[in-house]
């Protein structure tokens, strides 16, 4: 992992000490979770909400994609005070 590139995208600056500690943690965590590479099949779809069948009692599916609709989520969940 190119940690400096990740830091750049994530827009966080860290001290060398903190960077070393976090890098160590991240490597351990990714190692723990690496078994997930073995799973195959269809991915969970945000647009279908929390049901594998489209149900009438679920009024509207989840209206956002976690990765592409940040602006909409911002507007929906955190109301920016008018004076800013």
């Amino acid at each position: 992992m190119d940690i400096h590139r990740v830091l750049n995208i994530a827009r966080i600056s860290l001290s060398c000490e903190e960077l070393d500690a976090l890098k160590h943690d991240i490597e351990r965590i990714l190692s723990l979770f690496s078994e997930i590479s073995g799973v195959e099949g269809e991915p969970f779809e945000y647009s279908r909400g929390m049901s594998t069948e489209l149900r009438e009692d679920i009024a509207t599916p989840v209206p956002f994609d976690a990765l592409s609709n940040v602006r909409d989520v911002q507007n929906r969940y955190i109301k920016v005070p008018k004076n800013l």
Binding site: M1, I3, V6, L7, I9, A10, R11, I12, S13, L14, E18, A21, L22, D25, I26, R28, I29, L30, L32, F33, E35, I36, S37, V39, E40, G41, E42, P43, F44, E45, Y46, G49, M50, S51, T52, D57, I58, A59, T60, P61, V62, P63, F64, A66, L67, V70, V73, Q74, R76, Y77, I78, K79, V80, P81, K82, L84
Partner: protein, 457 residues
């Protein structure tokens, strides 16, 4: 412990007046807050409404819900002085029914934690023994309910954040079906799994508050029609009920396993049928959950940049200002999750990590739904371990994540789950979870009520 049902009965018959109940709770807060650190803000000048279903009921609200004119910190330096100018829907509904909201409960920073130790405002302590953690991330909510500072608390659960502290503090906590309670005004951890829910000292308290806060909200397009909890509270009949038990879920502390098996035995003796099942995708639950959370969390945290609101560092160029603000205002676990989320969703790595996590999530969802076609609910421990001492795990994220292995499953599939005290070990209560079908939430609460009334403990 004074049960919510008793307090509510006294309020309704006029034996206990709302201002007397409020004074009683404020007295407990004054005595215990300095030790427990269950609140980030305690309100003064609380007006007492004349009526409403919750008239006189004292409520705590987790500090990631917006309450108009009161600061909302999310347990972070980033929002230390942020004051929203609107109410979350759950807060609006509580207020409209006469609830007395006394303050904002302490929590792990941005709900990133399983022990109540990562708040910028200091750790919460377990009311049963202050040397031990109360669980997290809704640490202050559970500690406040368990210690009698409030009658009930409203909190959020993304991977166990209500059930974990409910278990460690010995109270009842529900994570409702996804979409049953509006998330409008809740600061998100992972928006596809966040669920507002309730902690109370008994099933009655959970049902009482769920009746008020659940149901369709135009401001949250994922919400669904209202369910009735109190109406069904005493309707549980174990005859013909099929309960699912999975051996993989019982690989926990032997004392916790014993109490879980005793709980299963209780329902079986009362007439339920026990069905053993296997769950092949359980091994992917923790990795699927955390990778999805990392990706969604890193995305949602982009808004905290020191430009629009919240903490901002000194005068620097745009990019340096954002980087420094985030470095200075966020705690280590939050940074860790943002970095991991950024990594797993990067174009060249997403197929290996994030997409795989979504595949595992779908598999888990399908498998859980299949199990729940055959059984009415699943019984499993809430936590694999007993409460631990403060500082024992907080520096080891892997050990901390392992605490969540049994609570993340319902969140991945959007299913309802409820944790309730089912036994004692060494002075601590041990929680057991029921996981049910989508929108069977009132049925689960009624099963816990049955357990309480029929002497399950």
């Amino acid at each position: 412990m004074i049960f919510m049902e008793d307090v509510y009965a006294r309020l309704k018959c006029g034996e206990l007046l709302p201002d007397e109940n409020l004074a009683d709770k404020m007295d407990v807060i004054e005595k215990r807050e300095s030790t427990l650190n269950a609140f980030i803000s305690i309100f003064d000048k609380i007006s007492i409404p004349d009526d409403g279903i919750l008239n006189g009921v004292v409520v705590g609200v987790k500090d990631n819900f917006a309450v108009r004119g009161k600061r909302m910190t999310c347990g972070s330096k980033m929002l230390e002085n942020y004051v929203p100018d609107y109410n979350a829907t759950v807060v609006e509904r509580l207020m409209s029914e006469g609830a007395l909201i006394v303050g904002k409960n302490n929590m792990d920073e941005f709900a990133c934690g399983s022990s109540g130790e990562t708040s910028y405002f200091g750790p919460t302590r377990n009311p049963i023994n202050p040397d031990y953690v109360p669980g997290g991330s809704s640490s202050g909510s559970a500690a406040a309910v368990a210690s009698g500072m409030v009658d009930v608390s409203v909190a959020s659960d993304t991977g166990g954040s209500i059930r974990n502290p409910a278990c460690f503090c010995g109270v009842v906590g529900i994570k409702p079906s996804y979409g049953l309670v509006s998330r409008y005004g809740l600061v998100d951890l992972a928006m596809s799994m966040d669920c507002p829910g309730v902690l109370a000292r008994d099933a009655f308290g959970v049902a009482l508050v769920m009746d008020v806060i659940n149901g369709r909200d135009e401001k949250d397009q994922t919400t669904v029609s209202k369910l009735k909890f109190l109406e069904k509270l005493n309707s549980f009949n174990p005859d013909g009920v099929r309960i699912g038990v999975c051996e993989d879920f019982l690989n926990v502390d032997p004392k916790i396993r014993k109490i879980t098996e005793r709980t299963v035995g209780f329902f079986e003796r009362k007439g339920a049928e026990v069905v053993n099942f296997e769950f092949s995708y359980f091994k992917y639950a923790l990795s699927s959950y955390y990778i999805c959370v990392y990706a969604e969390f890193a995305s949602s945290m982009q808004k905290f940049d020191g430009l629009k609101y919240g903490y901002a560092t000194g005068e620097f160029g745009l990019f340096e200002r954002v980087s420094r603000t985030r470095a200075e205002a966020l705690g280590r676990e939050v940074k860790r999750r943002i970095l991991l989320g950024t990594f797993v969703s990067m174009k060249e790595y997403a197929d290996k990590w994030y997409t795989k996590a979504l595949i595992a999530r779908r598999r888990i969802q399908v498998e859980l739904e299949a199990v729940l076609k055959d059984v009415d609910f699943i019984v499993l421990p809430t936590m694999p371990i007993l409460p631990f001492r403060l500082g024992e795990r907080v520096d080891d994220p892997v050990k901390m994540y392992m605490c969540d292995v049994l609570t993340v499953l319902p969140n991945l599939a959007g299913l309802p789950a409820i944790s309730f005290p089912a036994g004692d070990v060494g002075g601590f209560k041990v929680g057991v979870q029921l996981v049910g079908r989508m929108f069977d939430d009132p049925f689960l609460v009624s099963a816990v009520r049955f357990f309480e009334k029929e002497g399950g403990v």
